[in-house]
């Protein structure tokens, strides 16, 4: 049984039907990053454009030039850090909207328009924002909780007689911590699905239910999450090779890279949608939805996606 729950098939179908939406979302991601990227580009332009070896500076990364760009006052780094932080904050506030849309696509199992996508996302925005906030706080606390473990392993590793086992211990420990983040991310995805599926308002209660659900069905939930994660890593790897090959100093190569970047971002967004759609299918099936396809088994009509959400009155 390659796909015992039918989740892969359902997720794939959801992604196929939402191609345009995913591309639009990637475009919005790109727009959010544009101010910081424009600043970086302008800063480089101001420093390099009038130099006699400007083309060489475009062709290869020059640490000496970067030293001058950063300068002694650190303005470039400070500004870029501020802009990057702003972009990440903006992302944080925009993501719940998109996640709401992804869950809606998963629920519908059919094409939805962009305005529906936004409206459905908006309908669950505050709930999903709360989930994201809980995610940030939990991830932070998780990392604090991992600190003593990491320190302990560091101390132990330093006492090893050779570097190999010391590195192995560190890698395994970091893998464990990273896996904890990944499980947390998976639970949060199931929480979003659960809130939308069951239309229950309590975020904390749903978070707990989802955690229990994931723990009760580790093979299906974590297995599918690992699959989505694996696909994302494979996509990144493939594009890494492509982007390195496309690297160059000319405007046309820069434009090509920009297009490749947006395709990659769209594919990574598709992976998120893939996971949400699969999660919907798994949760629906395990919680009594039968073998029906994602979204269709609940018998919701089109308008139902936008109505009957108790927290919206």
């Amino acid at each position: 049984m390659i796909d015992p729950t039918g989740s892969v098939r359902a997720a794939w179908r959801a992604v196929r039907r939402a191609k345009r939406l995913v591309i639009l979302v990637a475009l919005v991601d790109g727009l959010a990053c544009l101010p910081a990227a424009i600043y970086a580009g302008l800063a480089v332009h101001r420093s390099a454009a009038h130099q006699t070896d400007a083309t060489a500076l475009a062709r290869t990364f020059d640490p000496d030039f970067m030293a001058d760009l950063r300068g002694t006052d650190g303005d470039f780094d400070a500004t870029l850090i501020a802009l990057t932080t702003s972009t990440l904050v903006l992302f944080f506030f925009v993501r719940p909207l998109f996640m709401g849309g992804y869950v809606a696509i998963a629920a519908r199992g059919d094409r939805i328009r962009f305005d529906e996508f936004i409206r459905v996302g908006g309908a669950v925005y505050w709930k999903f924002l709360r989930i994201a906030l809980i995610g940030v706080v939990t991830a932070y606390l998780l990392s604090l909780a991992a600190s003593p473990l990491l320190d302990y392993i560091d101390d132990q590793a330093a006492n090893f007689r050779t570097e190999g086992p010391a590195l192995t211990y560190r890698r395994i420990t970091e893998l464990v911590v990273f896996a904890a983040f990944w499980v947390l991310g998976t639970i949060l995805d199931y929480t979003r699905v659960g809130i939308r599926m069951h239309r229950r308002p309590g975020v904390f209660a749903e978070l707990l239910r989802s955690a229990v659900f994931v723990m009760q069905h580790p093979v299906e939930t974590l297995g599918f999450s690992a699959l989505a994660f694996g696909i994302e890593i494979a996509v990144i790897w493939a594009f890494a090779l492509l982007l390195q090959a496309a690297d160059g100093a000319y405007l046309i190569t820069s434009v090509a890279i920009l297009i490749l970047v947006q395709i990659l971002v769209a594919l990574r967004e598709a992976c998120r949608l893939f996971h949400h759609a699969g999660a919907w299918r798994i949760r629906r099936r395990e919680e009594g939805g039968g073998e029906a396809e994602a979204g269709r088994a609940d018998g919701l009509a089109r308008d139902d996606l936008l109505a009957n959400l108790p927290w919206n009155g």
């Binding site: 990053c33 454009a49 400007a54 475009a58 001058d68 007689r161 911590v177 990944w182 947390l184 890279i257």
Partner: protein, 791 residues
């Protein structure tokens, strides 16, 4: 492994070697040599006829018997119990009534020693299982005199009462000029956890600065800083190294059998007591400034005779970088390459077993270093050299130089193109010249050893290996890429400006950083420098320019970073300036010859001596035939910045002639519309003004180049003008339309703190801005998605 053939100790010097010649050929050779000799006499800077010093004037002899003592019961500390006889000859012309001793190991006695206190100021805190060390002289007597001598501790540099790294001994009667002082002492050195250079990690021992060592007597009339009662004997500081007389050593070590040892000098005897499991080795070293040793049961010992000009089988090929450099230098000096003799050296490599795959790389780096430095500064005069690969967890012992013994350090995953460990091996072996053979004052003039050595290390590595590849290491995995921008945050170093208590800092997680930054995707494979190997060191200098003068005592720099910049990077840039200025002033060939001659003169005149900055500059200027002191003074005696800029390139358009003008003896009104038939001057002969501005405080002569051609900088023709650089700005006017201008065309002033304004083109290009803007967007979008994956 032991060498098949071990030559006796024999300090070597470069010598002229004649191959077997027929009688006729011999006569011809004699005539030729006589001619060459005459030419040498005529040429004022060709010094091949002058002798190289073969040994130092030694006035100290140490005889030490040392035993490794393991703790008993819960005491797991390692100690070295020693008995030492020091015989010092008063070579001065004044009586000496006190002696000063360095007790370097006391730097690790407690956290209030000057060394650890200064280290703590940098943010260092001792590890939980820190074992403190120290050295205690248990008995001190003067041979030939009854009773024991008393020690007192002196902290002249910083008046720190907790520092015990310098001790004073009163001598009565005084040592007359020419007389000898023989001190006999028993001491115990407790080896600390390795936090810097010396100590132990489990059964790995790095015994450096482990015995009581005499300061240098320089005379009560000496103008050197910090001289007390005629003795130069500074405390041990965080940012200082050492300064000592040349000495002869005879050291007997008693170590547990089964351990592998290495030391300064030559092992003259080796016995193992099978009953007590003690191995006794005796080492002899002559004309060296220090003695260090190491032992560990885990070392793999490899011994090879390294002949820098020979490959594994026969002569090195013509394209071998060492051989090519030999031919180049011989041509510069006008001598036969065969006459520059670089003899073989028995190199012992003590390497950790997990690094065994890198044995050949270690030996090749040693070959490059012994070859290049031997060609440039005269052959390595000893027949033995030991390279130590410190144990895991003892990296702080690595990257250090001692006479005939250097510590390197490597990692399991060490891609060849990153030049790790090659860089550190070549650098530390380079110190055999710039520390031992040219025994400068490392405490107060660190640039003379670290700086000169860094410059020539960089050159040697560039010639032998080419530009190294950038490396970004995460979880021990070396990604051969460089980030455009490093963002702090979870897993990547918490930003200092977010003031959180220590417990609230999220940990650094390499795996999270790898997931966020996706090195193969967002970073680029790059070289650590594009064309100019010296430019690599600019970054650190630019960050710290303007804080300190280059030459000053190590403990008087504002911080460790400033010390590092002024000891390593800034002197490297200075040497680059000297070489390129000579090229500029004398022409490329003659300039290169002058640079080589200057360095050779310094290396030869001061071999086995103690040169100062003034000695270096005098010898270099004399050898090069060009006084470099004004340039050096401008670039080193101030903390001010050097920054010249091409401010603008503008066409000089004279206004249309209009108004009252004298013509044919009459005053006529000329209108702008050209009614009078006047033509604007320069309309057919455009002129261009280039303004160069001095933005910094440092004044140096500069070159301005302009071109009227469009195209790559290397392919167009440039017109050069010179300027003394004194004024705040200067306008240069050129006939024709100038499309580009640049200053420092041969990067003669890498000290220029902003090279972005060193050139200017009239027509800018958007390529760099677009390229790096898009690259940054690639990182940012993916970083945001990676963060978002968990939310």
């Amino acid at each position: 492994m032991s060498p098949a053939r071990s030559p006796p100790y024999n300090p070597r010097v470069p010598r002229i070697r004649l191959s077997r010649l027929s009688r006729l050929a011999r006569r011809a050779a004699i005539v030729l040599i006589a001619g060459l000799f005459a030419a040498v006499l005529v040429a004022p800077r060709m010094d091949a006829e002058e002798e190289w010093r073969t040994t130092a004037e030694v006035n100290v002899r140490y005889e030490i018997e040392a035993r490794v003592l393991e703790g008993k019961g819960d005491d797991d500390r390692l100690r070295i119990g020693g008995e030492q006889l020091v015989v010092w000859t008063n070579t001065s012309d004044e009586p000496v009534s006190v002696a000063y001793l360095h007790l370097y190991a006391n730097a690790f006695r407690n956290t209030r020693s000057s060394f650890l206190r200064e280290k703590a100021f940098e943010g260092w805190s001792p590890p939980d299982d820190m074992q403190y060390g120290g050295i205690e002289i248990r008995r001190l007597s003067r041979v030939g005199f009854p009773g024991e001598l008393e020690l007192s501790y002196v902290s002249a540099d910083d008046a720190n009462p907790a520092d015990r790294t310098v001790a004073r001994v009163q001598l009565d009667p005084a040592i007359a000029p020419g007389g000898q002082l023989a001190l006999k002492m028993k001491f115990t050195t407790t080896l600390p956890t390795i936090v810097a250079r010396m100590g132990h990690k489990d059964d790995f021992i790095m015994a450096a600065q482990w015995y009581p060592k005499l300061g240098r007597f320089v005379g009560t009339q000496s103008t050197m800083r910090g001289v007390r009662e005629g003795w130069y004997c500074h405390q041990f500081h965080r940012s200082t190294e050492f300064f000592a007389d040349y000495a002869d050593y005879l050291v007997t070590l008693h170590v547990p059998s089964g351990t592998v040892t290495g030391a300064t000098g030559t092992r003259v005897s080796d016995e193992t007591d099978e009953v007590d499991f003690i191995r006794t080795e005796t080492w002899e070293a002559k004309s060296v400034v220090d003695f260090a040793w190491t032992s560990s049961p885990r070392y793999e010992r490899h011994v090879r005779e390294i002949r820098p000009l020979r490959a594994a089988a026969g002569l090195a090929p013509m394209d071998d970088p060492v051989r090519k450099e030999l031919i180049r230098v011989a041509a510069l000096r006008g001598v036969d390459p065969e006459s520059i003799d670089i003899p073989g050296v028995w190199v012992t490599l003590l390497i950790q077993p997990e690094h065994a795959a890198q044995v050949d790389r270690h030996f090749e780096a040693a070959r490059v270093a012994l070859g290049m430095f031997g060609i440039w500064f005269g052959a390595y005069p000893y027949d033995r050299l030991t390279i130590v690969d410190p144990a895991h967890g003892a990296r702080a012992a690595g990257g250090m130089e001692y006479p005939q013994l250097v510590t390197a350090g490597t990692r399991n995953a060490a891609p060849e193109r990153t030049l790790r460990p090659e860089g550190v091996i070549v650098h530390e072996i380079g110190h055999q010249w710039f520390m031992n053979l040219l025994a400068t004052n490392e405490a107060e003039e660190a640039w003379l050893d670290e700086g000169l050595n860094t410059y020539f290390t960089t050159r040697a590595l560039h010639l032998a290996y080419g530009p190294p590849i950038g490396e970004h290491r995460l979880l021990g995995v070396p990604f051969l890429v460089t980030p455009f921008f490093e963002f702090p945050g979870l897993g990547a170093g918490w930003p200092e400006w977010i003031d959180l208590p220590e417990w609230a800092h999220p940990p650094d997680l390499d795996i999270f950083t790898a997931w966020r930054d996706l090195p193969p995707l967002t970073m680029l494979p790059t070289q650590r420098y594009r064309k100019d190997p010296m430019a690599r060191r600019r970054a650190s200098y630019v960050r710290r320019a303007g804080w300190d003068e280059m030459v000053k005592p190590g403990w008087e720099f504002v911080d460790r970073s400033s010390y590092g910049v002024n000891a390593y990077s800034r002197p490297l840039l200075l040497l680059a300036t000297l070489r390129r200025t000579l090229h500029w002033r004398l022409g490329a060939d003659e300039g290169e010859r002058a640079f080589d001659a200057g360095m050779l003169r310094y290396a030869r005149d001061w071999r086995f001596r103690h040169p100062t900055t003034a000695d270096f500059l005098a010898a270099f200027s004399d050898g090069a035939g060009f006084d470099v002191r004004p340039i050096v003074a401008a670039l080193t005696q101030t903390a001010g910045a050097l920054d010249y800029a091409v401010e603008s390139i503008k066409p000089l358009e004279e206004p249309e002639l209009a108004g009252w003008v004298e013509r044919d003896g009459e005053t006529v009104l000329v209108h702008e519309d050209g009614e009078s038939g006047e033509r604007r001057r320069g309309r057919d002969e455009p002129r261009t003004a280039v303004v160069v501005r001095r933005r910094g405080e440092v004044v140096v002569p500069i070159r301005l180049q302009v071109t009227r051609d469009s195209g790559p900088a290397d392919e167009v023709s440039w017109t050069t003008v010179e300027w003394d650089g004194e004024e705040r700005w200067k306008r240069f006017v050129f006939e024709g339309e100038i499309v580009a201008a640049r200053i420092h065309p041969d990067a003669e002033y890498l000290q220029d703190v902003d090279r972005r304004n060193d050139s200017r083109v009239v027509e800018p290009t958007t390529r760099p801005g677009v390229k790096w803007g898009v690259r940054f967007m690639l990182w940012l979008e993916n970083a945001a998605l990676s963060y978002g994956r968990f939310l």
